[in-house]
Symmetry: C2
Subunit: 228 residues, 2 copies
């Protein structure tokens, strides 16, 4: 059997949100790459461990994806991780990257798979539950119905233009600059505001209006803005 | 135990894309509502049957969500379905709606749960893999990285404005009017075009350029437009 690289989405917090395919593929992998050097702090690994306790006996490779703004440093970091993985793949191993959410949506895995494809190495990815729908379902709301559009805004630098778009807006990871987001939203009318942090974990907090959202920094907060 | 209504996402085609939670919840349900009167043509039911064969012995309630443009007729249809379900819930039953993709994203389930919540009936929804990421993963591409935005456009009537948005655009269910979409895209530069139909099923077809996409009508086609 040929070696290959696999990206596996494991959802964003609730371990039971993992798919049958992800469980199967993790068990079939020779090496599991975890996107954090400290496994105790690796959310993806902690999710998997709750569902597949055998993972503790697997060959684990913790890596650190540098979150630097220096593009050269970032590219160098991705290439270093890729080169290590490539060696294993060429030995015939199945090397799987477990990733929070889905590998196709804002995952670090995609940097590695881009490099791999350029080298003609087989890649393969398995969908996971994204924060988009996990958060909406936990809040008990629908994101979109019928002809409504959905816009996903990953950085609040782009929020001004985005707020004028029709339909539902999802603002990702806005917890660190929540004060600014709240200020911008205060003048807007006709928008229902929802937010959630720690979705699916024991620290989950749901907010159903702009006023309810606290102004202290929260790491993983997703905000959903629905036009009335 | 109190009765309740549950929306369960079952993914869009590949039966192994179902989550552990969805499997568990389907098994715990008293009645399973399927969004099509003919079960043989009900994609959600066919997905579930492949993973949970016992579903054939369960109490199944097939319903037809009318796809009429007449809003009054549609509202009447939703209410009729809801009233039937409500009776069962008040008898203490767990009534689960299985739904293609995710209950929070363009599902008919949300019409019923809206009515239920207004009546104070407990609702609950379980995330499923959406066509957004399932299609991208099958095509072997990522939807977004870093600061790129994602825009989901459910009707091609809105495509002109949408094409000018930054980042990635996903055009849902564009198969029936694919000729028009292709015409509009021909004049656009700097866009990589991908499309997929029957994602995760035995009829799956992947297209990796505008030219590859056939002009004959295809029912369930998703198009992904990535800015270069």
């Amino acid at each position: 059997m040929n070696g290959r690289i696999c990206g596996i989405g494991v959802g964003i917090g609730d371990p039971e949100d993992i798919t049958l395919k992800a469980v199967k593929m993790i068990k079939e992998s020779d090496v599991l790459v975890c996107p954090k050097e400290d496994l105790g702090e690796c959310r993806a690994y902690q999710i998997v461990k709750q569902v597949i306790p055998e993972v503790e006996d697997m060959d684990i490779m913790p890596v650190e994806f540098e979150m630097t703004k220096d593009e050269n440093k970032r590219i160098h970091n991705h290439r270093r991780i890729y080169e290590t993985v490539k060696k294993l793949v060429l030995e015939g191993k199945i090397v799987s990257f477990i990733t929070i959410g889905d590998p196709a949506l804002y995952s670090t895995y995609s940097y590695v798979s881009d490099l791999a494809r350029k080298d003609g190495i087989e890649t393969h990815s398995i969908s996971g539950i994204t924060s988009l729908t996990a958060c909406a379902n936990r809040l008990g709301i629908s994101l979109c119905e019928g002809r409504e559009q959905l816009h996903v805004i990953p950085t609040i630098d782009d929020i001004d233009d985005a707020l004028d778009l029709p339909g539902t807006k999802v603002i990702m990871k806005c917890g660190k600059r929540i004060k600014t987001v709240k200020e911008k939203l205060r003048s807007k009318v006709g928008i229902d505001v929802y937010a959630i942090s720690g979705c699916g974990t024991s620290n989950e907090r749901c907010f159903r209006s702009l006023e309810e959202i606290p102004e202290d920094e929260i790491y993983m907060m997703t905000m959903i803005l629905k036009s009335r």
